[in-house]
C-alpha cells in the first residue's frame, strides 16, 4: 500500500528545491514543518475527541495515518538539508530510524522497565512490598493452579501441534493433486480470530439436559455411543484439555505448512537410498526425514511454545478462567481490570517475560549465526 503513494509524494521535495534557493529556501524549510506540525496537532486533538462524528474521525484518521506519517518524514528530511554540510549526513540517518526508535522506546522499552519496577510495589503502586507479588505469583493457591494449567498447555499443545503437523505434512505430500485443498482446509483456522474459534468450539462442546436432543457435536457423538451428556467445560480437570484442543486446532495447520515445505526439501536421492536399503516408510520417516528437518522442527516448537505461553483469548472467552482453567495471561488481565492489583499483574507479566528470554537469546544467536 505504501508503494502506491510514491508518484504523488516523491516529487514534492524536488519541486521545493527547485523553487527555493538561498534565504527563501530556508524560510520554506521552516514554514512547511510548522504547518505540518500544526495540522498534525489539530488532527491529534480531533481524533482524541470521542464525541466527534465517527466518519469524520475515520477520514482524518486515514489521511493522517497514510499521508501524515509520510509528510513527517519528507518534511524532516528537508529540514535536515538546510543544516551545514558537515553534519548533514551524520544527522540524516536518524531522521529515518528516529521515529521507529522513539515509538519502540515509548511502547516497549519504557513500559517493560516500569513493569519490572511496579512488580515490587503494592496493588496501587504506592508502597514497596519486596518480593511479595512474586510470592503470590508462584506460591498462592490460585496461581499454582494457573501455573499448572500453563504447563499442561505448554506440554500438550506443543507436542500435539508439532507431531500432528509433521505427520499431516508427510501424509499430504503423498496424495497428489488434492494436496493444496487438504492443506488449505487444515490451515484455515489460523486465519480466524481466537474469539471466533472459541465460539465454534463452544458450540461443539455445548450441553443440553439428558431428555433434550443434543446440539453439540461432541455430546451428540458421546450419547450416540451410549454415554450421558456431559458439561465438558466444567468437567475438572479435563476441561483444560477441551480448551487446549482449540489451540491445537488453530495451530496444527500452521505447523503443517511450515514443516511441509521442509519435508519437500529432503533430497529424493536420500529417500531412494533408504528405500534401496529396505527401510520401511516408518523407518524412513523417523530415520531420514525427521533428522533432516530437525532445524525446522526446533523452530516450530519454540514458536508454538511462545504462542501457547501467552494464551489469553481462548480461556477468556470460553470460561473466563473459572472451573480451574485459569492461565497466567488471563489472570494477569483479571488482576489488572477486575481486581485492580497492579503489583500482582506486573509480576505476572514479568514471569511471562522471563519464560521467553531463553527463546529471545536463541533468536538473536541464530540471527547472528545466519549473518556470519
Amino acid at each position: 500500500m505504501a508503494a502506491t503513494l510514491l508518484p504523488a509524494e516523491a516529487p514534492r521535495p524536488r519541486i521545493l528545491t527547485r523553487l527555493a534557493a538561498g534565504p527563501l529556501r530556508i524560510l520554506i524549510s521552516l514554514i512547511v514543518p510548522a504547518i505540518t506540525f500544526l495540522v498534525l496537532r489539530w488532527a491529534f486533538i480531533f481524533m482524541r475527541d470521542t464525541e466527534a462524528d465517527r466518519i469524520a474521525i475515520a477520514i482524518v484518521a486515514l489521511l493522517i495515518g497514510v499521508v501524515g506519517v509520510w509528510a513527517l518524514y519528507l518534511v524532516t528530511d528537508n529540514l535536515v538539508s538546510i543544516l551545514p554540510a558537515g553534519i548533514r549526513e551524520t544527522v540524516r540517518p536518524f531522521v529515518f530510524v528516529g521515529p521507529a526508535l522513539v515509538i519502540l522506546a515509548v511502547y516497549l522499552v519504557y513500559p517493560a522497565v516500569l513493569t519490572v519496577y511496579l512488580s515490587f510495589f503494592g496493588p496501587r503502586s504506592e508502597e514497596f512490598v519486596g518480593l511479595e507479588n512474586y510470592l503470590f505469583a508462584l506460591a498462592s493457591k490460585d496461581m499454582v493452579l494457573a501455573l499448572r494449567n500453563n504447563v499442561i498447555w505448554l506440554i500438550f499443545v506443543t507436542s500435539l501441534v508439532v507431531s500432528l503437523g509433521l505427520i499431516i505434512a508427510v501424509l499430504v505430500d503423498r496424495i497428489g493433486r488434492w494436496e493444496p485443498i487438504a492443506k488449505s482446509v487444515i490451515f484455515l483456522p489460523m486465519a480466524i480470530s481466537a474469539v471466533g474459534a472459541s465460539i465454534i468450539w463452544k458450540f461443539v462442546y455445548s450441553f443440553q439436559p439428558i431428555q433434550r436432543p443434543q446440539i453439540g457435536l461432541l455430546n451428540a457423538v458421546y450419547t450416540a455411543l451410549g454415554g450421558e451428556p456431559q458439561g465438558w467445560l466444567i468437567l475438572k480437570p479435563w476441561n483444560n484439555f477441551f480448551l487446549l484442543l482449540i489451540m491445537v486446532w488453530i495451530l496444527t495447520g500452521f505447523a503443517m505448512v511450515v514443516l511441509s515445505a521442509a519435508v519437500k526439501g529432503v533430497p529424493a536421492e536420500l529417500l531412494e537410498a533408504a528405500r534401496m536399503d529396505g527401510a520401511n516408510e516408518i523407518r524412513i520417516f523417523l530415520g531420514v526425514i525427521v533428522p533432516y528437518i530437525r532445524g525446522t522442527i526446533i523452530t516450530i516448537t519454540t514458536t508454538v511454545l511462545i504462542m501457547v505461553l501467552k494464551v489469553f483469548d481462548i480461556v477468556f472467552v470460553m470460561t473466563g478462567g473459572q472451573f480451574e482453567t485459569e492461565v497466567i495471561a488471563n489472570r494477569m488481565y483479571r488482576e489488572m481490570f477486575t481486581f485492580g492489583n497492579f503489583g500482582h499483574s506486573s509480576a505476572l507479566a514479568v514471569i511471562l517475560l522471563v519464560a521467553v528470554i531463553p527463546v529471545m537469546i536463541y533468536n538473536i544467536r541464530s540471527l547472528e549465526a545466519s549473518r556470519r
Binding site: V195, I215, F254
Partner: protein, 297 residues
C-alpha cells in the same frame, strides 16, 4: 548408504510404498480434513437456521430435508448486525485495522532502510535491541501504557490503539523488512548514490518499489493480527459500543448471551468473513507472512 546391495528386498519396499501412498493415506487425510472442517461447518449451518431450530435439534439434522425453505433463514445475520450492533463493531474494526497496518509499515520501512544502507553510530547495537524486542510479551507494556494513556486522555480512542499496534508490530516489521532490504544488490544502491540521488529519493524511488513482496507479506500478517486481536482492543478501547471492535463485542456477547446460539453463530461468521476473504485471495503471501511473523510478542 549401501546402494545396490539389497536390491532383492526392494520389491517389498516398493509394495510398502504403494500401500502407504495408496488408498489408506487418502482415507486418513480425508478423515483429518473432515475433523478439521466439521466444527466450522456446524457453526455456518447453524447461523442460517431459525433460532428455535438451533436449540431444538442438532445442526446435522437439516441434511435430512435440506431443500425445505423453512429450515433456512438470514434473520440471525440481520439481527446481529442491527440490534446487537455488530455492523457498528465491524466498522470500528476497519477503522482500527487500516492505520494499524499502514503506520508501522511506513515507519519500519524507513528504519529498515537506514539499518541496512546508512552509516550511523550504534547501528548494530540498536538493531540487535530491536530484534530482541520482538519476543517481549506485550503484557509487559499494558499497565504503564494504560496509565500513560489515562494521563494523555488517549484511553478509548482509535489513535491510542493505532499507536499501540504500531509499537507492538514494529520490531517484527523492522526485522522482516531489514532482512529483505539488506539483500538488495549493492550495485543498484551505490549507483543511485553516485548519480547524486539523496537517501530519501533512493528510498522512495528504488528501495520501496523493490520491497513490495515483503511489504505485502507483513501487511497481511499485521492485518490479520490486528483484526483478530482481542487483548489490545479490550484494554485500550474497551467494550463501549461506539468504539468496541468486533472481537471485543463478540466476547461480550458470549459472556451475556452464552446460550443464544443464533446470535453467536451469525456474529462469529460476520467477524470471520474478512479474514477468510483475505485468506482465499492472498494465500501465498499469507503463509509467508504468518511464517515469518510467528514469534511476534
Amino acid at each position: 548408504m549401501r546402494v545396490g546391495y539389497q536390491t532383492r528386498r526392494s520389491s517389498s519396499g516398493d509394495r510398502w510404498r504403494r500401500i502407504v501412498s495408496g488408498a489408506p493415506v487418502r482415507i486418513v487425510v480425508v478423515l483429518i480434513a473432515l475433523i478439521w472442517t466439521l466444527p466450522s461447518a456446524g457453526l455456518l449451518v447453524s447461523s442460517l437456521r431459525p433460532a428455535t431450530d438451533i436449540t431444538g435439534s442438532g445442526w446435522w439434522t437439516v441434511f435430512s430435508h435440506p431443500f425445505e425453505a423453512s429450515v433456512w433463514t438470514l434473520e440471525n445475520y440481520e439481527q446481529v448486525l442491527t440490534t446487537h450492533g455488530l455492523a457498528n463493531a465491524f466498522l470500528n474494526s476497519v477503522l482500527v485495522t487500516i492505520p494499524s497496518v499502514v503506520i508501522p509499515i511506513t515507519i519500519a520501512a524507513f528504519a529498515a532502510y537506514a539499518f541496512a544502507w546508512l552509516e550511523f553510530p550504534g547501528r548494530k547495537l540498536l538493531f540487535v535491541i530491536v530484534v530482541g524486542l520482538m519476543v517481549v510479551p506485550l503484557q509487559m507494556s499494558l499497565i504503564p501504557l494504560l496509565r500513560l494513556y489515562t494521563q494523555m486522555d488517549l484511553n478509548g480512542t482509535f489513535l491510542g490503539v493505532w499507536l499501540a499496534h504500531t509499537g507492538f508490530g514494529l520490531p517484527l516489521a523492522v526485522f522482516l523488512l531489514f532482512g529483505y532490504i539488506s539483500t538488495l544488490p549493492v550495485e543498484i544502491i551505490e549507483s543511485a548514490r553516485v548519480d547524486g540521488s539523496s537517501p530519501l529519493t533512493t528510498f522512495t524511488r528504488l528501495v520501496l518499489p523493490l520491497s513490495v513482496p515483503i511489504i505485502a507479506s507483513f501487511a497481511i500478517f499485521q492485518f490479520l493480527w490486528v483484526w483478530n486481536d482481542l487483548l489490545v482492543a479490550l484494554i485500550f478501547l474497551g467494550t463501549r459500543e461506539e468504539v468496541a471492535v468486533i472481537t471485543a463485542r463478540l466476547a461480550a456477547l458470549v459472556g451475556r448471551r452464552g446460550e443464544q446460539w443464533h446470535v453467536l453463530t451469525a456474529g462469529a461468521f460476520v467477524s470471520m468473513a474478512v479474514p477468510l476473504f483475505v485468506f482465499f485471495l492472498l494465500q501465498r503471501y499469507f503463509v509467508r507472512g504468518l511464517t515469518a511473523g510467528s514469534v511476534k510478542g
